[in-house]
Symmetry: C2
Amino acid sequence: MVNVAVLGYGTVGSGVVEVIERNNVEVSGKCGEEVHVKYILDLREFPGDPYEDKVVHDFQVILEDREVSVVCEVMGGIKFAYPYTKQLLEAGKSVCTSNKELVAKHGAELLDIAEKNHCSYLFEASVGGGIPIIRTINHAMTPERIEAVAGILNGTTNYILTKMEQEGTDYAQALKQAQDLGYAERNPQADVEGHDACRKTAILASLMTGRNVDSEKIFTEGITEITTADFAFAKGANMTIKLLGTARLQEDGSVLAMVAPHMIAENHSLAMVNGVFNGIFVTGNMLGDIMLYGHGAGKLPTASAVTADVVDCVRNQGKTLPCHWEQAECRLADVLLTSKRFFVRVKAQGCGAIEEAFPGSERLEVPGMEEKGYFTPVMTEKEFEEKYSALSEFVLGRIRVM
Amino acid sequence: MVNVAVLGYGTVGSGVVEVIERNNVEVSGKCGEEVHVKYILDLREFPGDPYEDKVVHDFQVILEDREVSVVCEVMGGIKFAYPYTKQLLEAGKSVCTSNKELVAKHGAELLDIAEKNHCSYLFEASVGGGIPIIRTINHAMTPERIEAVAGILNGTTNYILTKMEQEGTDYAQALKQAQDLGYAERNPQADVEGHDACRKTAILASLMTGRNVDSEKIFTEGITEITTADFAFAKGANMTIKLLGTARLQEDGSVLAMVAPHMIAENHSLAMVNGVFNGIFVTGNMLGDIMLYGHGAGKLPTASAVTADVVDCVRNQGKTLPCHWEQAECRLADVLLTSKRFFVRVKAQGCGAIEEAFPGSERLEVPGMEEKGYFTPVMTEKEFEEKYSALSEFVLGRIRVM
């Protein structure tokens, strides 16, 4: 019998207990021995909860119990999760987590501690919820030089953008609907400003290169400036707008990583990823592109991914599951020097200025709309930003084009 | 150092050698030790080939070489591959294969032999080419009760159907184009009659249930009867036509498995899977749907999947990688008793007869086309076939609707 402890009895934590209990035939069957939740760590009491007798308030109880060999850290944040995870791994207990903040910040170090103590630090649920993207990179694409990842990594912002696209809802309304449905938090900043997608991009970029990508150095732009007018122009060009997290290996060995809204062709596979779903492309030098798609968040999909990690830990007790992510820092390419096309939205009286600043641009009109849109030719971010900022009296917004 | 042998120096075999050699930094790095191709078994000589010195003609050389611990069986067919694989596994050598015919027919038995000899039998490349669908079922969805799989599993037929849809090419022409491009074989029967998709469906259904699904008992219908007229009606209904392999767990524990062309909504994720690409949905009771998409065939993607299996074997030497697929037979549901809607194409003079036979049907017209289309209400296959066969003087074709 394997005893598991769950740190944090919130949405994901209660989901993990539910998956292990409701699907115990599957979970224990795949492990080859019975899996049992022994402790749930939470500050609160849960009177009437079917598992209230498992709730403890003292982390030491779990740390010191030699019967506990696998711990699910689903409390989130850094303050407690970081020292707890360290101590557990140092005690030789494997840790499975959905905590992208902690993984992005200390993943390389925690993997190293796990290896030294013959246990595992697994984090499938930290990116893409129930989508097995971490396993795909670590175990399926092992023969590949991974050249790029690109994905819709945040369900909240994708829900908002989908509402704006499909129902013409404006940004503020769409955000409010997402909050009412529990898809967005009361303080939505981490999602709408792109920070959540940025952490996930850092994790994917680190696994792709084997070196640590610092999330704080990734160029990150959120969706707060996107308007229904942008969607009208996108539709006119058979495109849509998605918040993408991307990382691409450059010829010089550096990585170009960024999080930003992009206009993408409406027949691109990522354009079909709507609502709270996530979709992730990975490109290998032999395999070409593969895409994974599924529930990027939600209690049970996320809990299922954490539990799959538990199964892997049980199947591999006493050894460390391989994960190439060194603490050495990965060199990031300068986004300003990269080239692409841009979509620019301008006031009607700005057309002349735009056409002069961006010769060769392609003009877009939407019937009934006075403002105009332009697709610039391919140019560097630096050149674009210099010209764009000089046109501030005319321009209404700009979006990168993929 | 790990020595690998490759059985069969055809498309996939030369791809495996290429992946191991060209990406040796990645492959050896992920294995933690150097991986080296020691032998290539083939009847032919390859004068001038950079690896001609590795070619041997006698299987015994490989079987008896204690230095060889992993063998890639990429020769295809049953006649030699089956006894060779058995002998290798009995000698404790792990076998990685792309041979869906052998896996579908003898997978459960070969897995059992591997387990008894503390080695592994892995077959990621047997379904979906470079798409990691086997790993997703065996290692990522371990906590799940898998309720259904549904996929576009054959790139050749998907290429043909995509040509017919997008360019209005008729079936015979599209098949010829596929043959000219090397996507279809001179004798295309295994693909166009659905047998290849059927074997892959049997493998997925076996892994989904843990019991052996006999591919010869799966209801299988190919694409040879699909016409450009069908696509015209599909388009008129915002749908398209795809050859799907499906397996769904029934309430009584049996599995409904079938391979047949289906009309599907054009905004369904599988409708976006075009050309030689494959796409596979898996539904878990906790996770919901996930979809994987990528190159379903082709030299390097398939070889990459075989090589990923090699890496897994090296990482887990002396143990058997878990795969739940017993020899006990899985009970299959009777397709005739299942219910769905059907699309029927009829001569103009048959409309009255159709409307009488299938009351509540929805009529479809395509401008400029004399024949008509109908969507029947939901009914059992049995009831449909009885009525449909009585209308043979009027009807021109029928397709299931998903």
